[in-house]
């Protein structure tokens, strides 16, 4: 393929080529590979990838499509390459961040020191939709609340990596990250010889170890289960995948029961069997109809009681989502300084808090050049992207902002970096983000890479798979001595 028509520009960072069309450090092998492959060969590899996806049954579910709810996973075969040297710094930054976030969550449900010391405003928590008063005074094992975190990273025009958001409730995507690697091993085996790519398939083992480390009955084989809302959930494939890889039971709420002794049991053909750790993939409000949503049939009556008594561990802990709020997000650098006495390694995207009058005025005045996000939504829903919206939607957004400023934050538009992507008849740059997964139990762990999501439509910044995004395998490549990387 000829890369001459591959467009780069000064205001977007392309991860493959510089604006002078030179390969960036570490990209030499990939550039050579693309140059020596014909379109026919690449399409052949793409077909192989599609075949692998079908036979491996890798699917994701889209809500409300009636009968045909399972869709095949959209995958682009050209990998995204990141150098190990850069990755190590990102890993440290992610570990630092999750450590501080866990200290913050534990603090706000217990002593509230950070509020007393006036580092965050008092009403910040009261107005957070994910603050759970039922969790006040709770001390989970190891003081950790968010054991599994998916943090979204983006790269701005100058190449700086920013944290866009932390997902501390039930982050998903890790199974696709692992399956993407399986597929690229099948379709690009020769590139694995040219690069030294860090393996990532130990994630299920690491997850199992993390979950085991918070068991209330420390022993060799704690009973770990994955709690799913069921087959109609969009991430069911992943729930089933992780349960299988960890050798854990995949349970639904109806399979669990809380006994008179306030312990959790699962109903097996042998009878009731005690459960130690629940990796729950259902939201807080559906966990326990006795405490939260009374109509929930997904949860387990009495589960919160069992958790508060320390008879079962929940990952992530209920209430951990308090730090998942986009307003709380703006204080994470402050938390890192406050709890750890360190400077943040990874910067936040600069954000305007609409609850502050001056900042709100600035946002309203410059709204056409900003992105406005609801504080508590995920999946890209309800997002307003200034330069692309109609006058009517802009007026509507302004009205919403004035009515409920606490519900929104605004950020300057970050022109997400681009990577080469196999499009209809060419290789073109497409915007990407990255979601690595961070674990914290008795140790911390960061995946070698993460799930790269790519906006398949030219110029689009929306990478969510529910809204037409695709994905790529992400390679963290070791610096080989003497090589050009």
């Amino acid at each position: 393929m000829d890369l001459k028509s591959y467009k780069t520009s000064a205001d977007i960072y392309d991860e493959l080529l510089t604006t002078q069309k030179r390969a960036r450090p570490g990209m030499g092998q990939l550039v050579n590979f693309l140059k020596r492959s014909s379109l026919r060969e690449l399409n052949e590899r793409r077909r192989n990838a599609e075949l692998a996806i079908t036979t491996l049954g890798i699917s994701f579910t889209v809500y409300s499509e009636g009968d045909n709810i399972d869709r095949e996973w959209p995958f682009d075969i050209i990998p995204r390459v990141i150098r190990q040297r850069e990755w190590e710094r990102i890993q440290q930054g992610l570990t630092q961040r999750l450590t501080a976030l866990n200290l913050f969550i534990n603090d706000v449900y217990n002593d509230g020191k950070i509020i007393k010391d006036k580092k965050v405003p008092t009403d910040l928590l009261r107005s957070s939709r994910n603050f759970r008063k039922e969790c006040i005074g709770m001390q989970p094992v190891l003081g950790v609340w968010a054991h599994i975190c998916g943090t979204d990273l983006i790269r701005d025009a100058d190449g700086t990596v920013y944290v866009l958001e932390d997902n501390l409730r039930v982050p998903s995507g890790v199974s696709y990250m692992l399956e993407n690697r399986n597929i690229s091993k099948r379709v690009l085996p020769e590139l694995f010889e040219e690069y030294h790519i860090l393996p990532m398939d130990d994630y299920p083992t690491q997850l199992f170890d993390t979950l085991s480390s918070i068991s209330p009955r420390p022993k060799d084989f704690p009973e770990v289960v994955v709690l799913t809302p069921g087959i109609y959930n969009s991430a069911y494939f992943e729930h089933s995948f992780l349960a299988q890889r960890m050798g854990a039971e995949l349970v639904e709420g109806q399979d669990l029961v809380v006994g008179d002794d306030d312990c959790v049991y699962m109903k097996t053909v042998e009878g009731l069997s005690r459960v130690d750790v629940i990796y729950r993939r259902i939201d807080d409000l559906f966990l326990d109809p006795e405490v939260f949503n009374k109509d929930s049939v997904l949860g387990v009556p009495g589960l919160m009681r069992a958790w508060k008594k320390g008879n079962v561990a929940l990952a992530n802990a209920p209430g951990a989502g308090v730090a998942d709020d986009k307003v709380v997000y703006t204080y994470v650098p402050e938390m890192i300084r406050y709890y750890l006495g360190e400077d943040p390694i990874l910067p936040n995207v600069p954000s305007y808090m609409c609850s502050d009058k001056t900042q709100l005025d600035h946002v309203l005045k410059n709204i056409e050049n900003l992105v406005v996000k609801p504080a508590n939504e995920s999946g890209g829903y309800g997002m307003y992207i200034g330069p692309r919206e109609s006058k009517r939607r802009t007026a509507e957004m302004k009205r919403l902002l004035k009515a409920n400023p606490r519900n929104y934050i605004a950020q300057p538009i970050i022109s997400l970096s681009t990577v080469p992507t196999l499009c209809d008849n060419n290789i073109e740059p497409r915007h990407v983000d990255l979601r690595p997964f961070i674990l914290q139990g008795d140790r911390s762990f960061v995946t070698a890479g993460g799930l790269t999501r790519v906006a398949l439509v030219r110029g689009s910044l929306v990478v969510n798979s529910s809204q037409g995004g695709g994905s790529k395998d992400t390679w963290i490549v070791a610096d080989t001595p003497g090589g050009d990387s």
Partner: protein
């Protein structure tokens, strides 16, 4: 193994078997109509076999071929389509347990039935459709036998399959009895054809001929289908299979007792006397109660309090 997963395996086994039995039943009766054009009650008896006359009467005024076939193929609850749909649903929610190809097959079966079921409403397309359904069911059963370890999951599938099979065999025998008890409907000269038909609907004709050397007669047919230990669709054989599977499961005492009881009842009966005193129908009723008791025991012992409402409704 989770109780819910065990339960879904059991119903998966039952519904695949039910789909095949429905196909077989419709197929044989369609042939019988060609042999006995003057017998009026054939279509109604098929509704009796499936145990759903009240559902049928709610939806249809007339008991005729078109309505009965439509009901048996397409009804939301009691039909072949419903059985296939539920088999697929049970497989879909236990995909990590059954072999990957098994789900693909049952999915294929589901899609095939959905696409082609209306072709079977008319006689000319019916044979092909039903033969295809039976073939796909056989493929599925063979695939499970060939690819699945004989573990707890497979045991539950086999328990479901054999209870369903035993149940269907007793229902077909029962309908044979009903006809015999109404001398005005079946003339003596057709008796032979009726019993042959009973055997055919269970694919038992060939095996019967190989193992029973007398001509086809009521006493021998009933004896063969109730008590034979080697023919896969004979009630005696099915109970033997259920017994073997249950004996490998934990806490099996009550269920094994229920099975033994049913086995003793069947072994001890005097078929000739039952036929002569027209008491066979009552006896078969008792056997069906015994089968229902085994089902209840399986459910209560291993599936806990998990009652899947929709599925319970279709248990006779």
């Amino acid at each position: 193994m989770l109780a819910r997963v065990g339960e879904r395996m059991y119903w998966f086994g039952r519904y695949v078997e039910r789909a095949e039995n429905m196909a077989r039943l419709i197929s044989v009766n369609t042939n019988l109509v060609l042999d006995l054009p003057k017998v009026k009650h054939i279509w109604g008896s098929m509704i009796d076999i499936t145990g759903s006359p009240s559902e049928f009467n709610q939806r249809y005024q007339r008991v005729d071929e078109r309505n009965v076939i439509k009901f048996l193929l397409e009804d939301d609850n009691a039909s072949l389509s419903a059985a296939v749909r539920r088999a697929r649903e049970n497989a879909r929610t236990t995909r990590e347990i059954i072999p990957a190809e098994a789900f693909e097959r049952v999915n294929e079966l589901h899609l095939y039935v959905k696409k082609n079921v209306d072709k079977a409403l008319r006689r000319e397309g019916r044979h092909r459709f039903l033969a295809d359904v039976m073939n796909l069911c056989h493929q599925l059963t063979g695939l499970l036998a060939g690819n699945m370890s004989g573990d707890t999951a497979y045991n539950f599938i086999k328990i479901g399959r054999n209870l369903e099979r035993a149940d269907m065999t007793t229902r077909i025998l029962d309908v044979g009895c009903l006809h015999l008890m109404q001398p005005d409907t079946v003339v003596a000269e057709y008796e032979n054809i009726l019993w042959m038909n009973v055997l055919r609907s269970l694919t038992a004709y060939q095996m019967y001929r190989q193992h029973v050397h007398d001509r086809v007669n009521g006493e021998d047919v009933v004896d063969f289908l109730l008590r034979d230990m080697k023919f896969p669709r004979a009630v005696g054989h099915c109970l033997g299979e259920v017994y073997e599977c249950c004996a490998q499961l934990p806490r099996q005492d009550a269920t094994v007792r229920a099975i033994s009881h049913a086995q003793r009842v069947i072994a001890g009966c005097d078929v000739a006397a039952l036929l002569n005193s027209a008491k066979l129908h009552e006896f078969i009723d008792d056997v069906q109660l015994d089968l229902a008791e085994i089902h209840r025991s399986v459910r209560d012992t291993w599936f806990g309090a998990q009652v899947v409402v929709e599925q319970e409704q279709t248990q006779a």
